[in-house]
Symmetry: D2
Subunit: 488 residues, 4 copies
C-alpha cells in the first residue's frame, strides 16, 4: 500500500496527473495540445498506468519499503537494498510485460535512479561535492509524489566516428551552454526517449565515456517534463495510424502501446539542487556502465511480452486446428526455451548483484550483458516462429471495416473461419495481435527496441570482452596443459 | 524483343490494360472502382510493370523463344525447355528483386504454367483426356497477348485438421457446384492471392492431395480476372495507409509494393476448353508437388530483395559514420553470406532440373525444398542485422510531415544529421526503406511471404524427408561399418 | 573443516580408500586388479580426489553444515536446506570444472541424494513405509565416512519402443529377481555409469516412469561398489590409450579424465535397511523427475570446463600471434557469451528453488531443463570455435615421440614454432589440450555427456512442454486481443 | 576407360606404385620403411585407391577426355574445359565421400592443377616466360602416367602477425635458398599436407599474398615425393592407434582414413622445366585465390561424407527402436537439409563457372566461399545431431576385446542388445562408425579439416567481403529510397 501522502495512487490518478501541462509536442507536423486523449498516444499512457495499478493490486511485487521515506513506494522509484530487491525488479518487469504486451516505459527511470545513486556517492567521495545528498532529497520527493521518471541518455550523436566535441555541430550531444549562480542551461537533443511525455521528470545524462575536452558534456540533472525550452517530436511507429482508425481489431493490441519521442532541449535550465554531475567527466563512463548494467537485465520484461506472443501463437494453433501436430508443439517448446533463456540470464545477473559503496546493489555486469545480448536476437526468432504458427493470413488479413461491412462482412465471416467452434472474429483478433507484435506497433518495442535499447549488440560484446577474465582462464588452461611451469 | 503481334509491350501498356475492367474489389469496407490509380494499390501495379520493361531492356534475361509461337515471349509465360531455362528464371527473379525491393507477383503464374504443362500431359496419357492440348492452346494465346497469369492455389482451409469434404462448410475449399454441357461452376475462396487483381487470368488449382471423396475439389481451370461472380477483398499490409499520406518518405519504398487479396468465387463459370483437370483427384498431388517444386526455388527472388536491404544497411552505416567498424563490416559479410545461400540453393535446384515426359524441365525437388526452407529463416536474420546496422532511429523516426514543417523542420534537419556531408533527408529516406523492408509494407513480402508462400516450413520438411533417400544412405553406413555382411 | 570422525579427508586419503577392494573390472578384455594405479584409469580417480581437496582448501564452497550430523560435510553429500544451498552447488561445480577440465563424477550422487530425500519422504507419507528414516540414517553414515556415492539410474534399455516388462529379455532393466526376509536380489545392467568404480556406494534407481506391470522394476537401494555379483566393464573413450603411452603431451590433459563403465548386476543383494523404494511404481517418475531436475542444472559444471577451453583458445591465439585480430577477439566474446548462458540458466534454476515437503530445496524444473538443453548445444559450438582459433594443427600435430626424437625433434622444434618468444612445446601442449577437449578423452565429457547425461535433448523438450503454462499464456493473449469476452 | 599407355589403372596398381620408394617418414618417433603395409597408414592409401577404381567403374563420373592427350584421363588430373566439367568434379567428390566416409586426398592436386594452369598462362602473357608450356607438358605426362598429385601450399607460418621475410626464422615459409643453371633449391616446411605420402608428385606453392620483399618465397614447382631432402613427419589423429589394435570394430571405419603429414624440405632441388613460377610475387595472390576458389567448393565432398553419417544415424535409430519418433525423423530432416546446403552452394559455384583466359573454367568465387564457409559450420552440427540420435553409448561403449572375451563377451551380447532382431555387433559397429566420424579418426577429416582446409573461416569472410559488390547494392537501395537524385 502506498502512503497516504502520495499524490498519485491509482492508474487513473496518474492519467489525470498528465493533463493540463504546457508541453510543446509535435506529431505529423501538428502541435498536439492534449496528449492524454489523443488516440495515437493514449495507449502509451494506459500502459504506464498499469504500473500504478500493479502496485495496488500486488504490493509485494510492485512496491518496496523505501529507506528514505520509511514507506512503501512504487518499486520503480526504489533504490535496491539487496540482491533480492534486484531480482524483484525482474519479476515485476516480467509480470508487466505479460499484462501489457509492450514496453511500460518506467525501467529507464528506475535504472537511472539506481545507477546515479551509487555514482553520485562515489563522485562526492572523491571531490567532496554534494550531488549524492541532493539526489537523495530528490528521490525522496519523487517517492512521496509517486512520480514517473524518464531517463534521458541517448544523444542524437551525429557522426558516430567522432567524439562530442569533434562534431560539426556541438549540439549533437547535450551540453552546457551557459551558467548562472542558480544553475546551468543545456542545449541538444535526446533521441527515441521512451515514455518521456508520460513522465513527470527527466534525468538528463551523458551517453558515453567522456574526456576532458568534453567536459561541458558531463552534465547530469533533473528537469520537469514541461520545463521551458523543450520540444517533443513524436516518433512514428509501424502501423501507428491504425490507432486513429475506427474499431479496435486492426490495432491488434488496442489498449497498450509504447512511446518514443525526440526531446529537443533549447537552453533548458537546471537549478543547482537538481544537478547531479557537472564536469566530472571521468564519472560519465561509470554512470553509463552502471546504468546499462541495470538496464540490460531489465530487458527481462521481454520475456513477459514473449509470454503473450507464445500464448497468441498457441491460441492461433488451436483456432486453426493444428495444435496437435508435433511440429507445432515443438515450435511452442522452442519459443518457451528461448523466452526462458532471456528470463534466466536476467535473473542470474540480478541474483548475483553485489553492493556498491553507497549500499545500492548492482547486478553482475557480465551476466547482465549476456542477458541483453540474447534479447537482441531471441525475440526476433520467437517472432519468426509466431509468424510460422500464425499462417500467411497474419499479413494478408482484410480490414475490420471489411469484416463489419454489411455487403461483404458475411463473406469474411464464412471464409475466415478456422475451427468450426471458434468465432471468426476471435481468430482475426489473435492474428492481429501477432501482427501487432511482429510487424506492427508493438514490434517496435518487442524487436527493434530489444535490439537497440540499453545499447546495441556490439556494446554488449565490448562489455563481455572486458569482463571475460581471459588471463584467469588462460592460467586454467596452461595449468592443465602443463605449460605454466615451462616459463611461459 | 517481343513480337509485334503482342498487344501489351511496355510497362505502360500493361498498366493501361488493367483499366476499365469490371471488378468487384473491396478495401477498408469500400468498393474500389479504379484500382489502377488508387494510391494504396498502385505500387503493386508498378512492380508488375517492371516485368514488362525488363523484357524490353534485357531480352536475354526477360524473354525466351516459345516453342509454341516461335517468337520471343516474356519469360514469365515460357515453358522451360532446358535446365538452363530453369536457371534463367532464377536469374531474372533475382534481378527483378533488386530493381523493386519487393514481390513482383508473376512467379506463381509462371510456375503454375510449367507445373500444369507436364501434369496435363500425364493425365491425358493415362485417361485419354485432352487437357494438355487445350492448355497448350491457352498458353500460346496468353503468350501472344502477353498477359499476366495469377495462380490461385491456396484455399482458405477452415479447420486444418480436416479434409475438404470433412469441413463444416463445403465451400472452405473451392469445388464444383454445378455442371452444364459448356463447363462447370465453382464456389469457394482463395486466400492471400498474390497479384490477383494485377493479372488478366487466374488459374484455379487445388491446394493439397485429394482422395476420391474430394473428387469435386479436383478442378483446374482458367478464368478471366473479371469473370462474373468474383469478389476481391484486399488484404491489409503493415503500414499500408502510409501510401495514402502526402509525401513519399514515410512509405520507404513509395513506388513499389506487393499485393495480396482474398478471392471469393461464387458460382464462377469455367468453359470446357479452359478446364485442365476435372475429377482426376490422383493428380492433384502431382500438380501441387510440381508447382511447389518450381515455386520453392522461385524464392530466389528474395536474394534480389536481400541485395537491396544489404545495400540499405551498408548505406546507413556510411551515413552514420560506422562503416569502418570491424563488426559492421562483418555483419555485412554475414548478410551477404546468408543471402547468397538462398541464391545458391535455388540455382543448384534449377541447374539440376530434369525433363518431364512432356519435355518441360522440372527442378530438383530436394534442392528446391532446401532453398525455400532457407527462405523461411534467412531473410528474418538478414532483416534483424539490417535493423542492427540501422540503429534505433529506424523505429522512432518522426514523420515526413514533421520534417517538412516550417516550425520544427529545421530542428529535425539539425538533429537527425549523421555524417556532416550527407543530407539529413537522405539518411531519413534510407532508414524508412529499412523500416519498409523489416516492419512495413514490404516486410510482408520479404518476411511473412517468405515464410508461408509456396508452403510453410513444415511442408518443406515433409518433402525433404520424402526425398532424403535414407535406405541408400543406411547402406553406405552399413557397408563402411562392416555390418552389411552380417545379415542385417 | 571436516569432522575428525571422518575417515577420508584429503584427496590422497580418498585414493587410498579405493585400494584393496575386490572388484571385477574388465578393460580391453582383461580383468584389472589394481584400478588405482592403472594409467588409463588413474586420471579419472585424480579428478574425484579434487573434490576432497577443494573441501579442505575452500570449505565455504566445498562443504556445508549437515542438519543430520551437525558437522561440516562435503557439499556433495549435503541435502540442500535453502535456495542458496542449491546455488552453492552450482558455484562449486563451476569451480571444479575449471580446476579439472573434465567431469569430476560426484554430481550424480549428490543429485540422487537430494531427489531421493524428498521422494522417500512423500512415499512414506502415503504408504506409512519407513524408507525416509532409513535413508536419513544412510546419509548421516555416508557424511561421517565422507564417502563417494554413485547414482546408478540409466538402464541399458534394449528396444526403446518397449516398456521394461515388454522387452524380449526382462533383464534389460534392473529388477528384483528374488526376495528373502533380509532383502532383495536384483539383476540387470546400468549403462555408462559415471564414476562408478571411483565410488564407495551405488544408489540403484529406476530410469523411467513405471506402471503396475513394471512393479518389480520399482526398486531403489544402496549397494557397496564391491558387492558380490557385480561386473564392471570399462567404457572406451576417444584417444583413451594415449594414457598408456610414454610422455604427457599427447594426452592433452594428462592428469584428469572422466570415467564411465557398464555395471552388470547378477543377483546382487540389497539388505532391507538400504532399500528406499520397493514396488511403489507411481513414485518412480517423481524420483526420476526430481533427480533430473537437480541434475540438469548440475551441468553448470560445463561452464567451468568451458572456462578452460576458452582459456586454451585465447592462449593459442597468443601463441600464434593472432590475438589482436578483431575476428579472434570476437570469437572469444562469443565463446564467453555462450558459456555464461549455461551458467546463468543454471543459476536461475537454482536461485528459484522451492522447498519440498521434506524441507529439501528443489530447483525450478522449467529453468533446469532450459539449462541442460543449452548444454546439449552450446559446448559443441564453443568447441567448434576453439578448433577455429587453434588452426588446423590441432588435428595434424605429430606425436610427442617425434618431438622428443633425437633425429627429428629439432625439426619440429624449428617448424612448429609460433610466436618467437613462446616455447614450441608450450604451443604443442595447448593444441593437445584443445584436441583433448574437442576430439579426445575429455570431449566425451564436454560434448557427448553434455548431450546425453541427465537425459537426451528430447527429454528436456518434453519437460519444457509440460512446464510451459500454455493455458495461462493463451489467456494473456486473449485478454490483450480482446477475445476473452467473446465467449471463446 | 583409361588409355592403355597408362601405367597405373586399378586401385591395386596404384597401391603397388607406392611400394619401394625411398621415403624418409617418421611416425611416433620411428622411421617407417614400408608405409603401404603399415596398419595405421594403409587406410589412407585404400581411400586413394578408390579414386582409381571409380574411374574404371563409372568413367562418366571418374574420368574426362583430356585436351592434351586426347584420351580419357582420371578426372582428378583433368583441366576443366566447361562449367559442366567443374560441376562434374563436385558430383565425383560427393560420390567418393559416400563410398569412403572420409577424405580421399586428391582434390588438392586437382585444384592446384586447374589454378596453376590459368595462372601460368597469365604470368607468361605478362612476362613472356614459358611456365605454361612447361606446365602443360607436365600435366600431359601426369595424365599418361595416371599419377597422384599433392598440392603443397600451407606453410607452417610461425608468427601469424608477420610476413614471410619478417619471421625470426626465414624458413618458416618455403623459399629458394640456392640457384644453379639447372634449377633451384628450396627449404622450409609445409604443414598438414593431405595425402602427401600417397602422391607421386608434390606441387610446391606459396600460401599467401606476397610483396617484393618476399620474392624468394614466390616459387612454384613440382617435385617427386621421394626427392632427396624431404622428411615426412606423420600427423597424429584422434584414435589413430586403434588401427594398430586387433579387430576391426573399434576403428569404426577400419578400411578408410585420411592422411596429413608435415613435409620438411631441406635444400630440395627443382629442375627448370618443373618450375612454374619464380619470383613473380604479384601472381602469388592470383594463384592462391584461384586455388582456394576451386578448393573451397571442392568441400562438396563433405556432403558425401555427410550422407554416410546421416545413414549411420538413421541406422542406429532403427537399431534402438526410436525411428518412429517424430523428433528423430525431424532431426534426420535437419541433417539432410544442412548436408544439401553444402552440396547446393558448391554446385551453384561450379555451375556459375566462367572461362579464364587460358580456357580453363573457374568457379564463381563468391559462391565458392559461401560453400566453404558453410562447411566450417554445418558438419559440426550434423555431427552433433548424429551423436544425439546415437545415444550416450557412442562414447562409453566397451572395447571389441571385451565383446570377443570368452569370459564377459556374452554379457555384452546380452546387455548391448537394442531391437531384438538386430545383432548386437551390428549395433556396436554403427556406434563405432558414428564415433569415428564425430570424435575419432575421420572426425579429423569431417570436422577439423572442414574448418581449416582451403582456408579457415575468416579467410572466406574476407573473400566474401571483397566480392559483395556493396557499391552496386547501395545504388539499388538509394534508387528505391529516392536518394540517388539528392546529390548523395
Amino acid at each position: 500500500m502506498l502512503t497516504t501522502a502520495t499524490t498519485i495512487q491509482t492508474g487513473a490518478d496518474y492519467i489525470d496527473s498528465l493533463r493540463n501541462r504546457n508541453l510543446t509536442v509535435y506529431l505529423f507536423g501538428e502541435r498536439i495540445d492534449n496528449i492524454v486523449d489523443h488516440p495515437l498516444i493514449r495507449p502509451s499512457i494506459n500502459v504506464v498506468a498499469c504500473t500504478f495499478d500493479l502496485a495496488l493490486e500486488d504490493p509485494e511485487l510492485g512496491t518496496a519499503v523505501s529507506p528514505f521515506t520509511g514507506d512503501r513506494v512504487n518499486r520503480f522509484l526504489h533504490i535496491a537494498q539487496s540482491a533480492e530487491d534486484v531480482v524483484m525488479q525482474n519479476r515485476m518487469q516480467r509480470r508487466l510485460g505479460q499484462l501489457t504486451g509492450t514496453c511500460f516505459q518506467r525501467c529507464v527511470g528506475m535504472d537511472a535512479f539506481n545507477a546515479l545513486f551509487s555514482t553520485t556517492f562515489e563522485i562526492d567521495r572523491q571531490f567532496g561535492t554534494s550531488y549524492h545528498h541532493h539526489f537523495r532529497t530528490f528521490i525522496a520527493h519523487m517517492q512521496r509524489q509517486n512520480c514517473v521518471i524518464g531517463g534521458a541518455m541517448t544523444d542524437v550523436k551525429g557522426d558516430r566516428s567522432l567524439a562530442p566535441h569533434q562534431q560539426a555541430d556541438p549540439d549533437l550531444y547535450v551540453h552546457i551552454t551557459r551558467r548562472t549562480p542558480d544553475g546551468v542551461y543545456v542545449t541538444g537533443a535526446k533521441a527515441h526517449q521512451t515514455g518521456c511525455l508520460n513522465s513527470h521528470y527527466l534525468l538528463i545524462m551523458p551517453t558515453l565515456r567522456l574526456t576532458e575536452a568534453d567536459r561541458d558534456y558531463a552534465i547530469v540533472g533533473a528537469i520537469p517534463v514541461d520545463a521551458p525550452g523543450i520540444t517533443y517530436i513524436y516518433g512514428r511507429q509501424s502501423c501507428d495510424t491504425r490507432s486513429l482508425e475506427p474499431g479496435t481489431m486492426d490495432a491488434g493490441n488496442a489498449r497498450f502501446g509504447g512511446q518514443e519521442a525526440m526531446v529537443i532541449l533549447d537552453e533548458v535550465f537546471i537549478p543547482n539542487d537538481l544537478i547531479f554531475m557537472d564536469g566530472e567527466y571521468d564519472y560519465a563512463s561509470m554512470l553509463v556502465e552502471r546504468f546499462t548494467c541495470y538496464h540490460r537485465r531489465s530487458y527481462v520484461c521481454k520475456s513477459g511480452v514473449g509470454d503473450v506472443l507464445i500464448g497468441a501463437a498457441a491460441t492461433i494453433a488451436d483456432y486453426n486446428g493444428t495444435d496437435k501436430a508435433s511440429h507445432i508443439k515443438d515450435k511452442l517448446v522452442e519459443m518457451t526455451f528461448l523466452n526462458e533463456t532471456i528470463y534466466s540470464t536476467g535473473i542470474a545477473a540480478s541474483h548475483s548483484a553485489i553492493p556498491t559503496e553507497s549500499g545500492a546493489y548492482l547486478p553482475d555486469d557480465l551476466l547482465a550483458n549476456v542477458c541483453k545480448h540474447h534479447v537482441t536476437k531471441l525475440p526476433y526468432e520467437i517472432a519468426r516462429l509466431a509468424q510460422d504458427l500464425a499462417g500467411g493470413l497474419v499479413a494478408t488479413l482484410p480490414s475490420e471495416a471489411d469484416f463489419r461491412s454489411e455487403v461483404i462482412g458475411h463473406l469474411l465471416e464464412k471464409y475466415l473461419k478456422g475451427r468450426a467452434d471458434v468465432p471468426t472474429e476471435a481468430r482475426m483478433r489473435i492474428l492481429r495481435l501477432i501482427e501487432n507484435m511482429t510487424l506492427g506497433r508493438n514490434a517496435v518495442g518487442y524487436l527493434t527496441e530489444s535490439m537497440h535499447g540499453a545499447g546495441s549488440p556490439q556494446a554488449q560484446r565490448i562489455q563481455i570482452a572486458r569482463q571475460s577474465r581471459l588471463a584467469f582462464k588462460k592460467d586454467l588452461a596452461k595449468t592443465l596443459a602443463g605449460v605454466l611451469t615451462m616459463g611461459d
